[in-house]
Each structure stands twice: as structure tokens, then as C-alpha cells.
Subunit: 301 residues, 2 copies
């Protein structure tokens, strides 16, 4: 079954000490949709301007992503510019231009309302709620969030959480959100706010998944070099939601979620191996299944 993914679509401009990459495809929905497309049919909901390069529309189509929910509005696409330090771990935002994204108010195309798996990618919780309100009791709802929304739209995020099955956030965000230093307590504090599950991303330390009574810990794939961490979290959420959709299950169990978290992690490990979405294009089934086998070997004992 298919997965509905809403989020931002951006044109990124990235500088490193060695090079300058203009006009890269970016945004939470771009990474998530490409990642999910390896596991299930994707219906993308987002907005771009008339300047959005045809080659990126073609790229989405090459991955069979349904673009009926992609609005092409008069004006310029959301733009983000950032600069990395030599080790690629420290990033500074140089410039943000919301452009057409500022007035994004999606109306789901007919048929989208009954898509069973929904990924509310990293955008404001108010927009996430707006999209969720147009759906008809989806089987499973994943929401991603970030420090910006925790700080600026906390109330809207709190209102969204009881309507969400799984919240995805990173370790510093979980601590910031709950004011709990211990990550297990932070995870339980998130669960007390409404979602049935929470996944806390820990970068090089992997990811943990909690429900009221179960726990899962997934290590990170061992990488000696990270080329570009941009979009790794979105790719994780997309791989996770895409995997769940591809399972075609009437009900999502904790064991399904474990494997979904592993698939999110393995897609994120591909993502950071190259700039922008480069590695999210043209992955083979063999590459994915080999990396899955690596996760089994590095986790099972």
C-alpha cells in the first residue's frame, strides 16, 4: 500500500571549504519521499515555485513518486543556504528564503485522504495537523519534528501528539522537549504526551524506539566518513514509513516497527555517504538487502 508524505521541498546551496554546490534538491519531503520510494508507492504533498528545475520533477518521477499533490505556485521555491566546516559535522545556516512555502496550505487531491500510512515530515505542527485533518483514519501516522517547532510552536505540537502513532525526533530535541536528561525518561515523557511510540535518533549512536512496555535499540551503520549529514533524519523517517507501507499489514506491531527503524537507519546511512540526495537515486535492491544483512550481523548475537 502507498504512503502519503508531506513536508518541505527546497533548493539548497551548500558550501564546503573545498567546493560550492548550488541548486541542490533539498527539503524534508524530498529526502523522505525518495527514501520511501524504495519500499512503497509514494504520494508527495508539497509546494515548489515555477523556478523548480524540471530535472528534479523528472527525478521524483523516475522513482515513480505520485506528484498529484505537488503544487507548482507562482513565485520562487523555498531556498536554503548553508556552509559546512572541514569535518562536515558543523553546519551554519547562511540564508533562508521561504518564498512560496510561506503560504503553503495544502489541499489533499482526491484519493489521498484514504492512504493508510501518513508521514508528516518536518514542517510546522500546525501544517502537519492541517494535512492530518483531511485524512480518513489512517492506519499509522508518523510525525517528524525539530528544535525550531519545539521552541516556537510547542502548544501546536502538544495538540498534534495524541493524533500521532509515532513521533520521531533526535536526542537533543527529546531532552529539550521534555527537560529530562536521561533519554529513557525523556522517551517515556514523550509517550505520556500522546503518541503510542517514540523513536529517538542519536546520530552515530543509532536510534532507540520506545512504547509503554517495549524497547528497541538500533546501532548506526559504521561509517568512517560522513560526506553530508543534510537530510539524514528525513531519510530515516521516509525509509521507516515506506517500509511500513510496503508491508501491507492490517495492523502495525512493535516487531514491524523494529524492522521499520532498521530500514530507516540503513537508508540514512546511504544518505550521508554523498551530497544532497545523490545517494538516494539509483540504489539497487541488492545494495539495500546487503546493508540490511549488515544490520542483522551487527545487531544479532
Amino acid at each position: 500500500m502507498s504512503v502519503l508524505i508531506v513536508g518541505s521541498i527546497a533548493i539548497d546551496d551548500i558550501r564546503t571549504p573545498a567546493a560550492h554546490y548550488p541548486d541542490l534538491l533539498g527539503g524534508s519531503a524530498s529526502y523522505a519521499a525518495l527514501s520511501a520510494s524504495y519500499f512503497a508507492p509514494v504520494s508527495l504533498v508539497g509546494i515548489v515555485g515555477t523556478d523548480f528545475p524540471q530535472r528534479y520533477l523528472d527525478l521524483f518521477r523516475s522513482r515513480k513518486i505520485d506528484l498529484n499533490g505537488l503544487e507548482i505556485a507562482n513565485g520562487k521555491t523555498f531556498r536554503w543556504a548553508g556552509e559546512y566546516e572541514a569535518d562536515m559535522n558543523k553546519r551554519q545556516t547562511l540564508h533562508v528564503e521561504l518564498n512560496v512555502f510561506e503560504t503553503f496550505r495544502p489541499r489533499l487531491p482526491s484519493g489521498y485522504e484514504s492512504i493508510p500510512i501518513v508521514l508528516l515530515g518536518n514542517i510546522s505542527p500546525e501544517l502537519q495537523a492541517h494535512v492530518l485533518s483531511q485524512t480518513h483514519r489512517p492506519r499509522f501516522v508518523v510525525a517528524d519534528t525539530m528544535d525550531l517547532w519545539i521552541m516556537t510552536t510547542r502548544q501546536e505540537l502538544l495538540e498534534l501528539l495524541p493524533r500521532v502513532d509515532l513521533l520521531v525526533l533526535n536526542d537533543s530535541e527529546a531532552r529539550q522537549f521534555t527537560e529530562e536528561d536521561n533519554l529513557i525518561r525523556a522517551g517515556r515523557a514523550v509517550l505520556a504526551l500522546g503518541p503510542r511510540y517514540v523513536a529517538i535518533k542519536k546520530g552515530e549512536h543509532g536510534c532507540i524506539l520506545l512504547s509503554q512496555d517495549r524497547f528497541f535499540s538500533c546501532g548506526a551503520y559504521p561509517l568512517e566518513t560522513v560526506q553530508d549529514p543534510t537530510g539524514a533524519g528525513d531519510t530515516f523517517a521516509g525509509g521507516l514509513a515506506g517500509y511500513l507501507s510496503g508491508q501491507n499489514k492490517a495492523e502495525v506491531t512493535f516487531d514491524d516497527l523494529k524492522r521499520a527503524v532498521v530500514h530507516g537507519s540503513l537508508m540514512a546511512s546511504f544518505c550521508v555517504e554523498a551530497f544532497s540526495v545523490q545517494r538516494m537515486v539509483g540504489l539497487s535492491e541488492k545494495e539495500i538487502s546487503q546493508r540490511y544483512d549488515s544490520f542483522v550481523a551487527m545487531s544479532h548475537f
Copy 2:
């Protein structure tokens, strides 16, 4: 088969904002020996003074730990005093008295030289080498180390490493030792110095194990409260070496080491649940096997 464990044996004095615990059993060999004793017969090599409480000798004996290698010297036992902040994560050393440990120069009792598994607990690499030189080609040698030795006796540590099968250290020590920020690169840099395997402990993020061509990642057991992290690393090394000994294998494989790392982690998760070695006494087989099952459930997918 049995395991030889050498390290420090101390009397600890620990203060918290709420309480003062004097005369606790401490030291790397104490934690490691008690931890290992749940899996194999332990032969302890260490030194204490004539002030060493009889109840702690009885405690070692209650765990069937062979004390033929324990020297009781004229003078006082090694003493350490520390103070924890309210969250038990920050510790300050208030006082160190080496006492009889200052002249520790162990001679292995007859029969100890052929014990197949050797754990060189956290003491100076020079002392570790001195003990190792008295053994006859042990089947597997584990060495633990810490920032102090990396800083003050780097050359001695470098000379020891090619004689060691597995080096255990924590993440900040691995980075400090190798000057590599990426933990996978740090691990590979350690392997290049001689040991066949390296285990890097990451506290709440678990532990990773590397060989030239294999990788394993073990999550930490989810604990909402840590009572006392003192000795967790020693308990990890002891559980690991004890488990290997209990397996009675002619050769230690990477798969054996995976399970050894899991047993080290699960023993460390008990250790931090209470002050000093309290939790390392009187654990039942059922408690250990239940926690092992929890590690399987939280790691396998």
C-alpha cells in the same frame, strides 16, 4: 575454565548530596572479579593491606573467588574518595591514597600461569605487562585501560597492545588515544596498534566491538535512573571475560565475543543500579537470564 583477573582492590568513600558511604569495597579487580564469578571460576590477583575488612574477604569467598593470588601486605589498603553531584553523573575525586598498592609487584601463584583467559583489569600497562609475562600463552587476553594511562604511560600501553587480544576502553579515551573524532576510525586506529579486537564503551549508548573485518553494536539496557556508575566499566570487562571462560571453547570467535560483550553490558546494567558492588552480590541465575532475554528482545529484529 577459569579466568585470571588482576587489578586494583580499594576501599572507597563516596559522598552524595544526601548521604556519605564510607568503607565501600571498590577497585577494578573487585568489580571485575565479582562480575566474572557468575560465569566462571575466578582467580584474583591483587593486593590489600592488613586493614582490609574481613567481610570483603568473605564476600569474595562467597562468590567462590580463588584468593591465592591476593597479597595481604603490611600497611593500609588503596583508598579512594569521591563526591557525586545530585544527578550521579558528575563525580569529583576528593582523595587518593595508593598505600600498599604503590609497591604492588605480583608474583603469580603456581598454576595461575596456565589459566586460559586473562583479564588485565584497569591498572598501569607496565603492571599489566608484568603479569602477562608470567603467563604461558593464554588462549585470550583482555586488557582494560583508562585516560590516566593513555596520558602518562602511552609508550608502555603501546608496547602492551600487540600482546593483547581485546582492548576495552571508553569512547572519549578511544578518541584521545587515537586523535580520531569518528569512533569507527578511532576503533580501526586502535586495531592498527596490535590488538585483534577493540571494544569501545559508550555509556548510555551501549558499546561497539570491532575486528579488522567485523563489527558489532550492543545497545545499553534502558535504565531510567543510575544510582552509582562507579565500576561499571570494570564490571563490563569482568562479565565479558567471565562469559568467555565459561564457554570452554578451544578458540574464541567473533560470535563468542558478541555474546561476551552482551554479558558484559548486562552485568554493567546491574552494577549501576546500586551503590558500590551491592548489586554484584546475590544476583540469581534467573535475574541474569531474564536480562539476557531483554537484550535479545531489544537488539534482534
